[in-house]
Symmetry: C3
Subunit: 270 residues, 3 copies
């Protein structure tokens, strides 16, 4: 639909590998890409609520010449927030710019793609429908990242295809002194899994591991678990030469408890 | 090969996710996309018969400025039929427009891509080889969709990645009165699986379910089975919040028997 | 990153389906594509050594107007060799043409893509960093393909998605006379698996099969094993109508021993 209307405009497939209906995974993939997007229009569709009352919207970012087009279900907000937040939003209500459907509306094809084509062709966002109160845009529940005594409780945000476990926090969220966080010394953290508080509040704590703060995979011994800053600036758990997620049994939504556990390499009694 | 010859022409990857050698699935994917294709050339290759005598062809559609290039094995015919049928076909016989191969011909690379590049660059379809009698173009066996007494026997055409079960018929094929078909009331259909007649003609009938005619997923209770018109205008079986195909054990080629089963929500004794 | 810098330059996704960290598979995929690549820049990233000392490089091919950009880990060399070998190489050391990272360098995004954008935009390769001695470019260990008495020992290079088993040799490597190799007669080869010499040198030989030299899949009876020249000019083992790799239990890195086994179709006692 985009190509039929805009034969010459470059189209980039950011990803088609988000799991079906996983709005959160889609929102994080979009957020990771956001700082690298060129001027243009982003169409984002991950929507278990197809056919329900959630609104189709177009949202202009504040600090980039980017408009996001998709469902008002929170999918696009982390990326927008990474670009200064939403500056202006409209509901895609104007049927003039929608495609008739042989059945129920297929929003990606019938609403979002024609709206994106209009915008990419220089059309005015206001022509697509009425302005929305930015406060009414839906947001996903925030990921867990909080201090708890000397520990950090932090949620697994994403497991990449190499099995690295990206956490919902950055190095500044780590407890301990600045030197420990910098990883200049061989700072250790104990890492254990906590059940998601919304699932089973008083479930028994899970397994525990020892992770060393390092700068890169290559600083780890084979099979050693490391805590590092990844290429997106967030904390990640990685194993040298293997997928950390699979070996530790970690999945998205798991909450981990990270506690400082001294310096030096793990003792043989660990 | 396309890009080397046509550096600037837009190329769209419609899909590379058809199962290996599944000509029927490819033909249905192409048919779904057909109404939305821009002017241009479509290269389609799903071909278990590589190396056999089936002909490489280019076929012009009747009611769109589209030429389909691929094997003469039925793959492209449903899409062509959705565009008014074939208007003109040639066999890709002219070696001038083929690529020499380091081994046996790889048709997509050596025959179809160069032919598509020629056509997309304004070349004449007749230059690619001799005209073919349109009646000789191969067709796949038609999908089952027939009245049988008060029932509709209809084949599973496609299971999408959300597990929705698309049937080889539209709402007009449903038995019962117009009101039932419209789904205005809470019309119910009983749905059971029949063995494919070509497989085991007198096999025992399979499991049976009750499906309610609805307009959209969101009209279904969690876990309820619905019969709805999908975004391509065909009938589909869907479950709210789950994949219908997996839960019901349905696959492409299964034939279902749909019978009117009264009105109102399913009774507790259903 | 490429698109943000080069909105109008065509970008082709050669493949994103190489297994994580499988440099060899990536190198072979690139080699198969090499003869068909247009003038331009190729970005190739398969790199288990991220974060280690291996160099990011750009390498100009000798007999094509192509520059390869990626890690100096052997990934790009088979493709370069297919294009006359490397003509000139630089290390991507000039930080002016690199992207700052919010964490450790993500080479594809922060180094390779900006370098490729510069080159595709007409920039000089020498501006990216110092010239390298071509002899120092890393190479992968060569695949096994050697005569051993009357037999050919040859490694499985690649299993395609249809289950065809591509071998690391061409028809000229086959033992036997020219007629046998040509497959004009119904030449037979016995095929058995040998453990990789680097794994278990004196391991017991594996299963053995009989393969007939044919020109194309279609010359095989259903279920018959054939030895043929594939569309890339190399030897391949194929079954008519099934995946040879799965049925024979063959994988990449397996070494096969091929021996002439007479003429004519397999006897009933084979």
């Amino acid at each position: 639909v985009l190509r039929a209307r805009l034969p010459e405009v470059p189209i980039v497939d950011l990803t088609h590998e988000v799991r079906a209906q996983d709005v959160r995974a889609g929102s994080l993939a979009l957020k990771r890409a956001a700082p690298y997007l060129a001027t243009g229009v982003v169409v984002a569709v991950v929507d278990p609520g197809v056919g329900t009352a959630r609104r189709p919207v177009a949202v202009q970012a504040s600090v980039a010449d980017l408009v996001f087009v998709g469902p008002d279900n929170g999918l696009m907000m982390p990326a927008l927030d990474a670009l200064g937040g939403p500056a202006l939003a409209v509901e895609l209500e104007n049927a003039t710019y929608q495609l008739p459907s042989p059945g129920p509306t297929f929003a990606g094809r019938d609403i979002f793609a024609p709206a994106a084509a209009l915008l990419a062709d220089g059309g005015e966002i206001e022509s697509l429908g009425p302005l929305l109160d930015l406060q009414t845009l839906a947001r996903l529940p925030p990921l867990v990242c909080r201090k708890a005594g000397d520990a950090l409780e932090v949620e697994v945000a994403w497991v990449d295809r190499f099995g690295n476990v990206q956490l919902a926090g950055g190095p500044g969220d780590l407890p301990g002194d600045r030197q420990a966080r910098a990883g200049g010394a061989d700072s250790l953290f104990s890492v254990r899994r906590q059940r998601h508080p919304q699932a089973e509040a008083n479930a028994a704590a899970g397994a525990a591991w020892s992770a060393r703060i390092v700068h890169t995979f290559a600083d780890l011994a084979p099979g050693e678990l490391g805590l590092l800053v990844d290429s997106y600036g967030g904390l990640a758990l990685s194993l040298n030469g293997a997928g950390a997620a699979e070996l530790l049994g970690l999945r998205e939504h798991d909450v981990l408890v990270l506690e400082p556990a001294g310096f030096g390499r793990p003792s043989p009694y660990d």
